[in-house]
């Protein structure tokens, strides 16, 4: 629409700045390698050949928080680990998103005691919660797609 109708098939597309930036942000979000417990094994299964996360450009798991966009908290966060999680979140550059994978990261899961944080959203802001103990790889991929939808709807004023 707009300019293309006048210039024909010249390879020009008009769109808004928001749409372009949001689209490019979703297209290869690099997750940070943050598998803590059993959910990490299902995350590794999601990266395997059957449930392929590489089709989203996400097979490259960056070990360093400075180079990643997405933190998938996979597994239970104990009280000793909580300061480490917060420090890693602070080290990630903007824009950053967090997926709390599994029941333990969302709400404490099966464990309701002195040692486990009841949900990782007590210390970092979470964008998407994925339920399951452990969630199937398909559920994790659904969570990733929900996050992509959320990012695509972001407005200029939300950007940091």
């Amino acid at each position: 629409m707009g300019v293309e109708q006048k210039t024909g098939n010249m390879g020009v597309v008009t769109t808004t700045l928001e749409q372009v930036v949001n689209w490019s942000r979703t297209n290869s979000m690099w997750p940070m390698l943050f598998g803590l417990a059993c959910c990490a094994i299902e995350m590794m299964g999601a990266e395997g050949a059957r449930y392929d996360m590489s089709r989203f450009g996400m097979e490259l798991m960056r070990a360093s928080p400075r180079q990643s966009d997405l933190m998938i908290v996979a597994g239970r966060v104990s009280r000793k680990m909580a300061p480490v999680v917060r420090r890693l979140y602070d080290q990630m550059p903007d824009p950053k998103w967090v997926i709390a994978m599994g029941d333990c990261a969302s709400c404490g899961g099966v464990f309701n005691n002195y040692a486990v944080l009841q949900g990782v959203d007590e210390i970092i802001p979470v964008d998407v919660f994925v339920a399951g103990c452990p969630p199937r790889p398909e559920a994790l991929i659904h969570g990733v797609m929900v996050l992509h939808d959320k990012v695509k709807k972001e407005k200029l004023t939300d950007w940091k």
Partner: protein, 169 residues
């Protein structure tokens, strides 16, 4: 009980005054804390119980003696499993370490210190292992609360949500 085990048990009974208990097919020796290191050395050198499987403890509050430190020993050739119990009082929870006899006991004893507060005299490095270094209290004691959070149902959802910590940022 096999023959080799019978010999070991009677020797320990004579020398260190241990009490024998048999339950299903497991043998337990109850001995006091002063003799534990010598007894471990005897069992290891003379009766071939060279493998220390486990060191743990149980809290029997309010009964006295409050704690029982439990060791499991295994003899590889004869395939015998032996359990040793040491009663420890709550007034002075201390036991000599067996780290010099079995080096593998080091971390198990640290865990018992962390979880129960039982000191091991002579241990080279007694500090917390699974809890954070500045944690107060010994979690597996019976008078330590479980620390659970009340479950949020619809009737108390807002009340608990107000109390839950959340990040400011």
């Amino acid at each position: 009980m096999s023959e080799a085990m019978q010999k070991a048990v009677s020797a320990v009974q004579e020398r260190f005054g241990a009490v024998v208990q048999v339950f299903k097919d497991e043998t337990t020796l109850v001995v006091s804390a002063d003799h534990i290191e010598d007894m471990m050395k005897t069992l290891r050198d003379e009766f071939a119980f060279t493998f220390l499987i486990d060191v743990t403890a149980v809290d029997y509050m309010p009964a006295e003696p409050r704690f029982n430190v439990i060791y499991h020993l295994y003899a590889m050739e004869k395939k015998d499993l032996l359990c040793v119990r040491v009663p420890v009082s709550s007034v002075r929870p201390q036991v000599p370490t067996v780290e010099k006899v079995f080096p593998g006991a080091a971390w198990f004893e640290r865990e018992v210190w962390d979880m129960f507060g039982i000191r091991f005299e002579g241990h080279h490095d007694l500090r917390r292992i699974v809890m954070p270094a500045d944690w107060e209290g010994h979690p597996l004691r019976k008078d330590y609360p479980l620390g659970y959070e009340e479950v949020q149902f619809t009737f108390n959802f807002d009340e608990i949500a107000g109390r839950k910590p959340s990040p400011k940022e």
